[in-house]
Symmetry: C2
Subunit: 111 residues, 2 copies
C-alpha cells in the first residue's frame, strides 16, 4: 500500500483556495474569461458577506461597489477586481480590530 503523503494546506493556502472556490461558484466562464455580472456579484455578497450586508443591504451600495470594482468598465467583474474588493473589506476589518485592541490596551494602562 503506497502511502500518499497527505499535504494539509496552511491557513493561508486555505484562504487562497476559498477565494478561488467562491469566485468559481458564482462566476460564469467564457473560454478563458471568468467574470461576475451585477446579479452574480449581488448573490455572492448576499450569501458570502451576510454580516456585512446587514448594514449595507441596498441596491445603491451594490451599484457603487460594482462601479468601483469594474476597473475596465466592461460591465463585468474579473477575478482580480473581485480580489481588490476582498482586500479592501479585509483591511477595514483589520483596522477596526486594531482600533479595538488599541483602546483596550490604553484603557488598561489608565487603570
Amino acid at each position: 500500500m503506497t502511502s500518499t503523503a497527505c499535504i494539509v494546506p496552511s491557513p493561508l493556502e486555505m484562504a487562497m483556495e476559498h477565494l478561488i472556490d467562491v469566485f468559481g461558484q458564482y462566476s460564469q466562464k467564457d473560454q478563458m474569461k471568468q467574470t461576475l455580472n451585477k446579479q452574480q456579484l449581488r448573490k455572492l455578497m448576499d450569501e458570502q458577506l451576510t454580516t456585512l450586508m446587514q448594514h449595507h443591504n441596498n441596491q445603491k451600495a451594490i451599484d457603487n461597489v460594482f462601479k468601483d470594482l469594474d476597473f475596465d468598465g466592461d460591465g463585468l467583474v474579473a477575478f482580480e477586481e473581485f480580489l481588490s474588493l476582498v482586500a479592501g473589506l479585509t483591511k477595514s476589518c483589520n483596522d477596526r480590530l486594531l482600533i479595538k485592541e488599541h483602546k483596550r490596551l490604553t484603557s488598561q494602562t489608565k487603570q
Copy 2:
C-alpha cells in the same frame, strides 16, 4: 438556557479571517502600525506557502518579493502590501487552473 445564535462564517468570511490571523501571527505591532520585516515575511512564506516555496526557495526570490511589496520603501511590509502578495499569488493559481480546465475541455471536444 439562552440559545446563542451560532453564526457560521461563510467560506469568504473564513478566508478573510485566515488572512487577518496569519498576518497577525507573524507581524509586530507598534501602536496602530502592524508590519512584517524581511525575516518575518520569510518565516511566513516558509511556513504558510510551503508548496510554493519548494520551487522558489532562495534568498534572491524573497528579496525580490520583499522589494516589490514594500511600496512605500520603509523596509517593512504593511497589511495592504501583504494582501497584494496574496492577491497576486491567488490570481496566478487561478489562471493555471483555468488553463488546465481549458486544455481538458478542448481535448474532450477533439475526441
